[in-house]
């Protein structure tokens, strides 16, 4: 069987050779016909083979085309074309491993990593203006469409009940936004001392990682610093996945044993009407105080309003499932297109990764400290462990609060209490994002 295949291939090659020579002779004889095929120059088979070999990926990696342009049509350095791409492809394999073996936000990390793999293919230029990743990017990322749609879905999944039954825990979600602004100061300090060059816009886009809210980070990054989107999105999602590792040591360091054992009063029942009025009320406040934040808050509350209305179950179901899933695929691939070597392998990326983890830690710490501050005032005591849930990362951060609480008292269920600051954190980071946008208008 194998022999037959080989013979057949050999025959085919032979035919091809004779064809080429035949073509040559016909071309020479009938010179008048060639003008129709001016773009295609006839060549010998040897030339064709060598031409084809030059267009392979191996050659493109080892000795890249000196005139090759990046996705934006600019010249790239030789490093970014050869070794840089190979390194980025290895990095995407590492991200696959994180997503599949370690379960790090696989829903987003897998599409992002695969998009990154595709964007680093030489010659094909998939991330370019006419490649499909480039088309996805301009379709919904450069105009901030996809993060907004994701926000609608997140709104439809959110239950504001725990927040409504204990409103003051919203302050914890506000305190955690110190992570954003603390990192902003850190980032501009770095560029003030000439360590790395960040503009104020870039520093703001990086600091929003501290909001621990993927869509918000992407929304702000595309608006203020699209060139850093890849690094910001990867930092944001990988640290969100690492919340169970980053938060507990900070939470334990800042609380005493007695504080960790505080039992909170049972949450009261919240009527349906309250849940229905709440999204409209928050949106009204956003309109009055900070219209710049209404794209995010408006989309979020739209999703939540559909859910709480209880009369559009089909739309609610679409938002929570099919729509958010579809957009997640596109969002991931579009962000992945920014993992092209020439945009990701820059010195800034390292600092973005470092600042991102600072942002998370500061946010966690200030949430916990805020809870301790609130306990100094009369009223129902708050377990400081739920303060860390103020960084959004819904519902992971709330689960971490619950888990750490259970370590010290098996009967202390903090999950529902922690959901309050958790969803308030989403609102808080949307407001912070609105402030940042309004400052650059």
């Amino acid at each position: 069987m194998k022999n037959i295949v080989i013979k057949f291939l050999a025959l085919f090659m032979l035919l091809a050779f004779t064809n080429v020579s035949a073509n040559q002779s016909t071309n020479e004889s009938t010179g008048t016909n060639t003008h129709k095929e001016e773009t295609y120059k006839s060549q010998t088979f040897g030339h064709m083979v060598s031409g084809f070999l030059k267009s392979t990926g191996i050659v493109a990696f080892i000795s890249p085309d000196p005139d090759e342009l990046n996705a934006k049509g600019e010249k790239m350095s030789t490093f970014h074309k050869g070794l840089g791409r190979a390194l980025m492809i290895i990095l995407t394999f590492f991200l696959f491993w994180l997503a599949i073996a370690k379960g790090f936000e696989p829903l987003l990390l897998l599409p992002i990593a695969f998009g990154g793999l595709l964007a680093n293919i030489p010659v094909a230029n998939i991330g370019g203006a006419h490649g499909f990743l480039g088309v996805i990017y301009s379709m919904g990322l450069s105009n901030e469409m996809f993060p907004i749609i994701i926000f609608m879905g997140v709104g439809a999944m959110t239950d504001f009940g725990p927040l409504l039954s204990n409103p003051k825990t919203a302050l914890l979600g506000g305190a955690a936004q110190f992570g954003i602004f603390g990192t902003l100061v850190g980032a501009v300090a770095l560029s003030q001392y000439g360590i790395v060059d960040f503009t104020l816009q870039q520093a703001s886009a990086i600091s929003i990682i501290g909001g621990a809210d993927g869509p918000t980070s992407i929304f702000i990054a595309t608006k203020l610093a699209p060139e850093l989107l890849g690094a910001i999105a990867v930092a944001s999602y990988s640290y969100m996945a690492m919340v169970p590792i980053i938060q507990p040591p900070i939470m334990k360091a800042l609380t005493t044993d007695a504080e960790r054992r505080i039992k909170m009063t049972t949450l009261r029942h919240v009527s349906r009407l309250e849940k229905l009025v709440f999204p409209v009320m928050v949106l009204t406040l956003a309109i009055l105080v900070l219209p710049e934040s209404t794209p995010l808050i408006g989309a979020f509350m739209f999703g939540n309003f559909l859910k709480e209305s209880g009369v559009v179950e089909r739309l609610n179901d679409t938002l929570q499932n099919s729509l958010i899933n579809t957009v997640t695929i596109f969002l991931g691939l579009g962000v992945g297109s920014k993992l092209a070597a020439d945009q990701f392998l820059v010195p800034q990326t390292m600092f973005i990764m470092a600042l991102g983890i600072v942002a998370f830690s500061v946010g966690t710490a200030s949430g916990v400290l805020m809870a301790k501050l609130m306990n100094m005032f009369p009223g129902h005591k708050i377990n400081p462990l739920i303060g860390s849930a103020g960084v959004s990362a819904v519902p992971m951060a709330a689960r971490v609060s619950n888990k750490v609480g259970m370590e010290f008292d098996r009967n202390n269920m903090l999950l529902m209490h922690a959901m309050g600051p958790n969803v308030a954190g989403v609102i808080g980071s949307a407001v912070a994002a609105g402030v940042l946008i309004s400052l650059f208008q």
Binding site: L163, L164, P167, K168, A170, L171, G173, G174, Q177, F178, I180, F181, G182, L184, V185, A187, V188, A189, S191, Q192, L200, A203, S204, V270, S271, R272, L273, E274, V277, F278, M281, V282, L285, A286, V289, L290, A424, I427, G428, V431, A432, G434, V435, L436, L439
Partner: protein
């Protein structure tokens, strides 16, 4: 003219955190107000019906569980 970026950063922080907290404080106040208004003028009427139904269901479940346990005990 050189602007001190760190000072700018702190200005951003002051304005940003101020806005976030003011927003949330207003939100908390209106949440409390809303719940007072709603509980006063639009109380939920459901809880009166539920208590009479729930115990019966519970009893049935308990009876079923006990009888299952008894049969299991006799068989064993």
């Amino acid at each position: 003219m050189e602007t001190n970026l760190i000072v700018e950063g702190f200005k951003f922080m002051g304005l940003g955190m101020g806005t976030v907290f003011i927003f949330l404080v207003i939100m908390i106040a209106s949440m409390n107000l809303m719940s007072i208004v709603i509980h006063k003028f639009f109380p939920e009427s459901k809880p009166e019906i539920n208590p009479s139904v729930a115990p019966q269901q519970n009893n049935k479940k308990v009876v079923a569980a006990i009888s299952a346990a008894i049969t299991h005990h006799r068989q064993g």
